[in-house]
Subunit: 297 residues, 2 copies
């Protein structure tokens, strides 16, 4: 990661975490839920989704403060999805980032309720905390989009088909549905929210959405590659867990070398799209595309 990108990541991450902490400080009772919400969210994540929202706003010359409640809400939704995914009935994971998963620490019943509370509170932040920052029209658009991308037509849809596809040979369209929905929509969401906040014209909006769709895909492809080639202490989960679940992935369909080629091609495409439309102002988002393709965790 370039020093420039690293500095930006740190900056947006700290800003997001500070605001998340402030929002959490308003919550007290029941203590096990408020404490579990904090534990699940303030866990040392990179805050990629807030980064996307805030960096896009900055590129478009919009005060990034306007994106803070939405950025935090997206992190609550992302976190709730991890909390529920880790449950025994789903992935049954005991550890996340080297720490006990939420249901392991707070018990399974509370794990379910903490996830529910995070999801619900995301919509509280989107409505209540955007009130004096954005027009009501924009808030309603943002909430509509968020509920669509997080729900049956977005993340939950992708997660469902992902589970259904375990131990099954699936075709490329199914794999692509999983990628675009399970992780893709929640990477598209912060960029689309920035577009709404900035009132961006259609041409520029479409370029940004295409960029977001591509990096959503490269993010997933790189994850699949790391699952084969990564170092366990860097990626924080066992290598080969996809193989173990017999998951179809880009490498299992195209082979590892071809997958790496696709990753580089797609990354190049995303970068060129931005450069042609936004020029030098898109420097940070261009560096991000490279980072996603080349990261080691």
């Amino acid at each position: 990661m370039s020093t420039n990108l690293k500095t930006k990541f740190e900056y947006y991450k700290n800003l997001t975490n500070t605001n998340l902490e402030n929002f959490f400080n308003e919550l007290n009772y029941p203590q096990i839920i408020s404490s579990g919400m904090k534990y699940s969210v303030l866990n040392g994540g990179k805050r990629l989704r807030p980064f996307l929202l805030l960096a896009t706003l900055e590129m478009l010359n919009i005060d990034i403060k306007k994106g803070i409640p939405s950025a935090c809400a997206i992190e609550l939704i992302h976190s709730y999805s991890l909390v529920h995914d880790d449950l025994p009935a789903l992935d049954n994971d005991d550890l996340r980032r080297g720490k006990l998963t939420t249901h392991k620490k707070y018990g399974e019943a509370n794990g379910i309720l903490i996830g529910d509370a995070l999801l619900t509170h995301a919509f509280y932040l989107l409505s209540e905390k955007n009130l004096n920052i954005l027009s009501a029209d924009k808030i309603v658009k943002i909430i509509s989009l968020t509920s669509k991308y997080a729900g049956i037509n977005g993340m939950i849809g992708g997660q469902t088909i992902d589970i259904e596809s375990e131990n099954k040979q699936i075709d490329l369209p199914t794999l692509q549905y999983i990628h675009t929905h399970k992780t893709g929509k929640m990477i598209l969401l912060p960029i689309e929210i920035a577009i709404i906040i900035a009132n961006l014209d259609d041409v520029k909006s479409n370029v940004l959405k295409e960029y977001a769709e591509i990096i959503g895909l490269t993010f997933q492809i790189k994850d699949d590659i790391l699952d084969i080639e990564g170092e366990i202490d860097k990626i924080g989960k066992p290598i080969g867990s996809d193989l173990e679940l017999n998951k179809s992935t880009y490498p299992s369909i195209f082979g590892l070398e071809k997958t790496k080629e696709i990753l580089q091609e797609k990354t190049k495409e995303a970068k060129e799209l931005l450069l042609n439309t936004f020029g030098e102002t898109s420097k940070i988002l261009i560096e991000l595309a490279d980072f996603i393709a080349n990261r080691d965790n």
Copy 2:
């Protein structure tokens, strides 16, 4: 139930169900989630919460169409809470209204995801389906209120303390917290949404909120009485299940006779409040208060 009240119940219920079905018809893939969402919601419920919203609007002379998306959204939230409550880690129930619970029919992983999808879709209805019906300002207020009353400071808070209190002697304030939050907030919600839609003045709003809080309580007290005295084929769950879980209830704190007195007093109070402020126009909501106190299931 009076013929008058019965007719109204049927009317609002059919209206709610028709609209729920229409909203569900927009959902297809993944089939197991869309099918599970329908199964969990279209299960023969009384639609008490939509009734409260629509009857209040009608009393206030507001077109009840303005309340339909919100009424449906509340039912999705109510249903998701039942789906998650029934899970093995929580109440571990196999049957609801004589049919398999959602996780028993669709598997536990899908049960969790179906609940998540219902909760998320409620906010989709509140934002997207209210768009051409209510002003954006009102929509944002409704969403903020809904997320508050369904989340850690509302229903989820109450549910958490209810679970924590099993097999424990709890004091009256704790029991009242459970009642006002676990069931109370979601009974208050439809009436407060009607208040927002109708732009009602503070004096009348406060009377309606007080009414809603009282019937939220009497609803719960009556449930506790039915758990002791009800007939199994009418209430659809085993008698004495509270006793079995060693749950503190109004009867366990005050005794059965005193609890019945409280129920009648509170019901009288709710009815007088309405009659004094809204006169004859409040007839249906007054009949509802009686129905809640005297129902046999």
